[in-house]
Amino acid sequence: MTDIHLSNTTSIRTQDEAAAAKRARMDLISSVVRYALLFGVGFLMLYPLIWLVGASFKTNSEIFSGAGFLPNSPTVEGYVRGWQTSTPYTFGRFFWNSFLIILPKVIGTAISCTMVAYAFARFDFPFKKILFGSVIAVLLLPNVVTRIPQYILFRDLGWLDSFLPLWVPSALAGDAFFVFMLVQFLRSLPTDMEEAARVDGANSLQTLVFIVVPMLGPALVSVCLFQFMWTMNDFLGPLIYISSVDKYPVSLALKLSIDTTEAFEWNRILAMSVLTITPALVVFFAAQRYFIEGISAGGRKG
């Protein structure tokens, strides 16, 4: 009896072990397939970017000889000559111009949109609903519609061929999208902390600066990041308002290097393209942490 009992137990255990081993094998296969698929699709999507970086180190003739991204004889000639540009200025000048547009625009956007959003989210004032409705209406309005009136306005102000038309509207909370985004974020924050600050003696501006802005951190990082990338990539704005080459930002300068050469020096263009996207990538990865932190950095739940 005992022997039979034992052998039954043993066989059950063996079956269990076999089932567990099978499950482990299936898990492994499933993981391998999933990761292979993810890696494959990811690589496919990233390939143009990888190719761009690889090709910027190729010679001009090699670029069109194959679709591979590894250069046969890597050279930095594209970077050196691309940096020189075909104008009297180096590419550094164009980066500096971009910087001169982006910096006041991003800072101005952050400050003005925060103040406008704070007012909409926290205060009652006459015509609030109509004004907020108009913000939403502006949000839905295609950019193209306002181009001509804006151009005429800036021409009359004598701002053509300067950076002012590119950043002043944004620094006056002209980007309805950011205002809307911050209003929504503010509405989700509890008002207790602000009330506590008022009881502590802070006025509205102090409450905004010392209490609200730190809580708005993640949303403000997103606003700045979007504004940075959109401005870096903006082509139409500078094209319309800036006519002197010495004021061109990088987006126009890239196009310039295509226009002014008879035979396109693709490796130069690609090299400068790599340099152009680098700041955006660096800023994005640096700020990514704040996206992930998100709203959890906000109020403390009791």
Partner: protein
Amino acid sequence: MAQVQLKNLEKTYNKTNKVVHGLNLDIHDGEFMVLVGPSGCAKSTTLRMIAGLEEITGGDILIGDQRVNDLSPSKRQIAMVFQNYALYPHMKVRGNLSFGLRIAGRPKAEIAAAVDKVAEILEIEPLLDRLPKQLSGGQAQRVALGRALIKNPGVFLFDEPLSNLDAKLRASMRVRITDLHRQMKAEGSSPTVVYVTHDQTEAMTMGDRICVMQAGRIMQVATPKELYNAPANLFVAGFIGTPEMNLIEGAMEGGEFVMGGQRLALGNELGGRLSGQPDQAVLGIRPQQFSLVSEGPALRAKLVNAEFMGHEVYMHADCEGHRLISVVGAAEFEARAESDVVRLRPDPKTLHIFDKSDGRNVSLLGGSIAA
């Protein structure tokens, strides 16, 4: 001097929705006043109006002798502790405590000394360099208390400060807050406290006086003892006391209270006094005022359920279709006769008769029961 006076205080939302109906309340200097009532009775709204966080639609608020209707919160000599503490999440405990003083532009040395003093009183010195998210509920509560304390205000406003804590911590914080108040009074600073809660245990144990509110109106303002022993109306009678007071509808016939088939003679004094009172009445008996008897005048009821609480038993019994709750000693319960029917004799000195039409307590003196 920081007495608080509410004079015909009113609050209306959207011009039509009136939530506070002409409150009149005098809170004395150094008094611990508790505003208590069920959810939606406008106790928090009233507190927020005192704080200046909510606009006043009508009436006046006086703090000290000054009318503060149009003053900003910071100029009202008040400090407030919020329900969810409202600690600034990006500032360390030290920053939270000192924020008000920094805004006021006080010298750094003075701020540091004040922070250290408050931290010592509340035993939060080890927490000074932590962020609010690194604190437990009880610790955060103490920091919130410290933030109010550091301002050394004339009036402390508490908006359900203990409702997010577990029962044990709540009990210890209750004692800590009242101790602190007593200590400050002994030291001569005499701060006035307005404390909002929906928890009647907190109200009864903490308040010098309690203001019971319902639907934006004051039902009664009295000491805890007076509220318990002499509720002015049905609402207060039902709200104060655990378990709730038994409220039995019936009719007054001469000097007797009639409920279904049973009659309860109220005795010469009470019966005589109430003989001219309305026929339709409500009898109020506290569960603790019953004794189990085997003979003599008593209410006969059918035992439905008994909750054993250790040293006492909550008996649920059916009396003429009314559910009666009574609290009797465990030994007394065990010694009763083995029967479904129990005889409950109320303490004659603690009976209350309420006018059914307006809920008024028409019998604030005890009577005696006769068979």
